[in-house]
């Protein structure tokens, strides 16, 4: 059962939602055996999926036999693996292989969808008939010649993940655990999770375009439990991206371990901030969760095409300070939200949602772009071949502003700094959104004083945008592994922010 109106933004440390437990020792067995076909596949992606042009032509023809404004086959093969260290040993590994094709037929704003894990012609034709059942009449265009486009550039790895064996990963995991264990005498337990994931995607659309992309993803996650007397605290940190094994060098390990240990140890000193409305300084980096919830989801064009987003009538209007430019970009190299091409075959781009305080435009997939008569923005994404694509964010962030972090904090009499986060959520129509602050600081008389913890912040999107009063020049993208959930689909995203001041928002604290 998935309630249809909630959009959850699920952080790395939320339980049970890490769809990315994915790594890679299964190189050899991943390759699928070709099925019989008349023509020898020329393209390596066709070989990968065991199909050829004749098969694709025939399935597309069935899919569009009753008419279509948009139709495509989304072939996907993914391979994932993970290794877990607990109580000093790497004692658990897991892997998975997923293979299938999703078939979609769109007429106007109506969608027929089917998928199959069985890539035989018979099974794909059956799925095509199911998906095309929404169409009424007419036929699709005959494809004259297929046009191949392998999309590259944002995350091509020096060494494919399938070439990195368990023998290479074990020392990395052990090193991280040993460093975390040694970092503080109070550290009692350390858990390290490594995961890697690689997918091959082939999108064959009704016009004959064939889009190909190889998408890697890695993550390493360190959880620390520490004890002082009777008190136990735990916290974690993770690094993620479309990066190769070589990324995780000593510098990155040091950073990961330091974050995990520092964020845990500070909890022994941390308390709750005062409850109620107050100024909140969002620290540079992961605070981009504010943008994701406060504006990002509301700017996904499906909600606006249907008239159910609080931002449905705001394009062209001033929504925030002139210092505020908000972007959703698919082209940030190696980041978790990077995509060479979206899941409809549209190359991604740098899309401005707000420029100098003015609302610019929505995040589009093919359906919404046709509805509005604009070009798609490369935001049509899906979790896997089991889902039809919908408009989704990629890397969402704010560009630098004119202030400095120090001057922003100095202007706050009483408030908080929000530094690390676990999760957030938004109601698209009412505009109310939340994010959960795991670590932060109290500000008293313009200075950071005591550490704070476990505080939910709740606000209303347009209201909070209008209360962004200062933006610093210290922008950075967060490298934690964020997953965004919508309509039951999880996709990897990134977020970033320069230090930013929201003049007033409701903070879940104690002792008001």
């Amino acid at each position: 059962m998935r309630p249809p109106t909630r959009r959850e933004f699920i952080g790395a440390s939320a339980a049970g939602v890490c769809m990315m437990s994915m790594p890679s020792f299964l190189a050899g067995c991943a390759k699928t055996a070709p099925i019989e076909s008349a023509v020898t596949p020329a393209n390596p992606f066709l070989t990968w999926f065991g199909v050829d042009e004749a098969v694709i032509r025939s399935v597309l023809s069935e899919l569009t036999a009753r008419g279509a404004d948009q139709a495509e086959l989304y072939f996907q093969h993914s391979r994932s693996s993970s290794l877990t260290l607990e109580d000093g040993i790497v004692s658990n590994a897991s892997s998975s292989v997923d293979l299938g094709v999703g078939l979609r037929c769109v007429v106007g704003d109506q969608t027929g969808y089917a998928f199959t894990e069985d890539l035989t012609l018979e099974s794909m034709l059956q799925a095509a008939r199911t998906a095309s059942s929404i169409a009424q009449a007419g036929g699709g265009p005959a494809i004259e010649a297929f046009r191949y486009k392998e999309h590259k550039g944002l995350y091509t790895l020096v060494q494919p993940l399938s070439d990195v064996g368990v023998a290479a990963k074990l020392p990395l995991i052990e090193k991280i655990a040993a460093q975390a264990q040694a970092a503080d005498p109070a550290v009692e337990k350390v858990r390290v999770l490594w995961s890697d994931y690689e997918e091959h995607v082939l999108i064959a659309d009704m016009t004959g375009a064939m889009h190909m992309d190889v998408r890697p993803m890695t993550r390493v996650w360190c959880t620390v439990t520490a004890r002082k007397g009777e008190e136990t605290q735990s916290n974690s940190s993770n690094l993620a991206g479309r990066r190769g094994f070589d990324f995780y060098d000593q510098e990155q390990i040091d950073l990961l371990v330091k974050q995990a240990v520092d964020r845990t140890m500070i909890l022994f000193e941390a308390r709750r901030p005062p409850a109620g409305e107050q100024p909140v300084v969002l620290a540079a980096g992961a605070s981009g969760i504010l943008l994701h919830e406060a504006i990002g989801h509301g700017m996904e064009a499906d909600f606006n095409r249907k008239g159910i987003s609080i931002f449905a009538d705001m394009v062209g209007k001033k929504v925030s300070s002139e210092h505020v430019t908000i972007v959703d970009s698919g082209v940030e190299p190696s980041e978790r939200g990077a995509l060479n091409v979206d899941d409809e075959g549209v190359p991604t781009q740098y899309t401005k949602l707000v420029e100098n305080g003015i609302m610019k435009g929505y995040l589009h997939d093919g359906i919404s772009a046709r509805h509005y008569g604009v070009e798609p923005t490369g935001n049509g994404r899906r979790e896997s071949f089991r889902f039809a694509p919908v408009p989704r964010m990629r890397c969402t962030f704010m560009e630098n502003g004119p202030h400095t972090a120090e001057e922003i904090i100095a202007t706050v009499k009483n408030g908080i700094v929000a530094e690390t986060f676990t999760n957030g959520q938004v109601k698209i129509g009412a505009g109310d959104f939340t994010f959960y602050v795991k670590n932060g600081w109290l500000i008293e008389d313009g200075k950071k004083t005591a550490p704070i913890k476990d505080t939910n912040i709740i606000g209303n999107g347009p209201d909070v945008l209008s209360k962004i009063t200062m933006v610093a020049n210290d922008f950075r993208l967060d490298t934690g592994g964020w997953t965004c959930g919508k309509d039951g689909q999880g996709v990897p995203v990134s977020q970033g922010l320069p230090t930013t001041l929201v003049s007033s928002i409701t903070v879940g604290g104690e002792d008001a």
Binding site: M1, L83, I89, S91, D109, Y113, A275, I308, N423, G424
Partner: protein, 440 residues
């Protein structure tokens, strides 16, 4: 051969493949799910999705080592290679003195109960019928001049799985489900477009309500959100609606596992026999509820299902213990995962509880927030209504409730008599005293 027997054969073959590839022991699970989703918006077809999905997972025990794997690529030559790689991988790990395949003694005593989870009539539901239901939901949901848009879905699944192990376990499971979901967006003052939804369903087509009930429910729940304002900051009595109370119980029970305790990340550590809630709260994990949403005859390790008291009059009685963390924590396995949670009921319904409370906040749903399983500290966003003169008053939102879960449940002052039956957590209305609320 019936489908479920084919799944069992597939699982048994996978166990054999693991053994042939060098595993000492293996556990395999094969599953299949047929799923249909039919959605209309404003009475017009929006999306139709149909699929039959399959999967195979294996757990491998080899040379004192362990790993788990899953695949949807079931072509024989690929499956064989997949399993051979998986066994080779297992052997490259470090040996773990605590890792054993579940003890066959735990498989014994599987209850001979018909849980009644499968409706053969589900296969006869037609797309025309689904469309008619959706149109009826949309029509009822849209019957108000503030409605911007409605969306209604019929979703049904037919799931079956079979498991087998190298130490003698076999078991199969089948389940069907069909649900009505309807959501409504309304035009409020300014740009606000509050929305809400309703859903009802069950394992059986015959359990479905009149679809207009779900449409009307969605509309009423959306209308209740009009004119929402931020409520006050302060310590309040909160009455938590039965649909929202499951989130609090889930947070309280989340760390109640041998895994969390052994890993040092649970406020349940050392608390068996100690109070973790007021004496109003008694919770039993009951896998044997007929037509329950998490009912089962055995768990993921094959452990025969039985009732497990979790809290009795507020005192912690048991936690969820699987084979592996049970060995590590020196606890007897109970079951590794929750099933249905049944709460002992009080004697008042929502209306009577609101009247009893007089003033406070009636929480209808949570928005975001989280809790720390190690310490129990929580902070949740909420929306609902003020309680004024013992009745539901002004619509409020954009607020948080913050505190510690154990402290919160120690302040549980009343439990309703109205369990929410459309969930595996059958929780009634709950009343808590002195909860820190932050708003305006």
């Amino acid at each position: 051969m019936p489908d479920i027997d084919m799944l069992l054969e597939r699982a048994q073959q996978a166990v054999e493949l693991c053994k042939t590839a060098g595993a000492d022991n293996a556990w395999a699970n094969a599953s299949r799910n047929r799923s249909v989703e039919f959605t209309t918006r404003d009475g017009k077809l929006e999306k139709v999705q149909e699929s039959t999905s399959r999967g195979l997972s294996v757990e491998i025990y080899a040379e004192g080592r362990y790993s788990s794997h899953s695949t949807t690529d079931l072509r024989p030559e690929n499956l064989q290679a997949f399993i051979a790689e998986a066994v080779a991988l297992t052997k490259a790990l470090q040996p773990d003195p605590f890792r054993f395949i579940p003890d066959p003694a735990l498989f014994e005593g599987r209850p001979a109960v018909d849980l009644d989870l499968v409706d053969p009539a589900l296969g006869q539901v037609t797309q025309a019928q689904r469309q008619q239901w959706c149109e009826a939901m949309d029509a009822a949901a849209g019957a108000h001049d503030k409605v911007i848009s409605t969306e209604s879905t019929v979703q049904d699944d037919s799931y079956m799985s079979a498991a087998a192990s190298s130490n003698g376990f076999t078991g199969t499971k089948a389940e069907t489900g069909i649900w009505f979901v309807s959501s409504v967006s309304l035009q409020d003052e300014g740009d606000k477009r509050p929305s809400n939804y309703d859903y009802l369903g069950g394992h059986f087509v015959s359990e479905l309500p009149d679809p207009t009930v779900v449409g009307q429910g969605a509309l009423e729940r959306a209308l209740a959100r009009l004119g929402s304002v931020k409520g006050p900051t302060g310590a309040e009595t909160i009455v938590v609606d039965r649909r929202a109370a499951g989130r609090l119980l889930g947070s309280l029970l989340g760390p109640a596992s041998a895994r969390s305790i052994q890993q040092g990340r649970s406020f349940w550590a050392g608390k068996i026999g100690q109070p973790l809630a007021s004496d109003k709260l008694t919770i039993i994990d009951d896998p044997l509820l007929v037509r329950g949403f998490a009912s089962r005859l055995f768990d993921g390790e094959g452990i025969a299902a039985r009732q497990l008291p979790i809290l009795e009059a507020g005192v912690a009685k048991n936690v969820y213990v699987d084979t592996y963390y049970g060995k590590k924590a020196e606890l007897q396995p109970t079951t590794g995962s929750p099933s249905n949670r049944v709460i002992t009921l009080g004697d008042k319904d929502l209306e009577a509880l609101l009247a009893q409370v007089g003033a406070g906040i009636y929480v209808t749903s949570w928005l975001g927030g989280n809790s720390d399983g190690t310490t129990g500290d929580f902070s949740f966003g909420l929306e609902g209504h003020l309680i004024e003169g013992g009745k539901i008053g002004a619509c409020v939102g954009e607020m948080n409730a913050t505190g510690n879960l154990v402290d919160l449940f120690m302040h549980l002052s009343a439990v309703g008599n109205d369990p929410w039956k459309y969930s595996s957590t059958l929780v009634p209305t709950l009343v808590f005293e002195g909860v820190q609320i932050s708003g305006a």
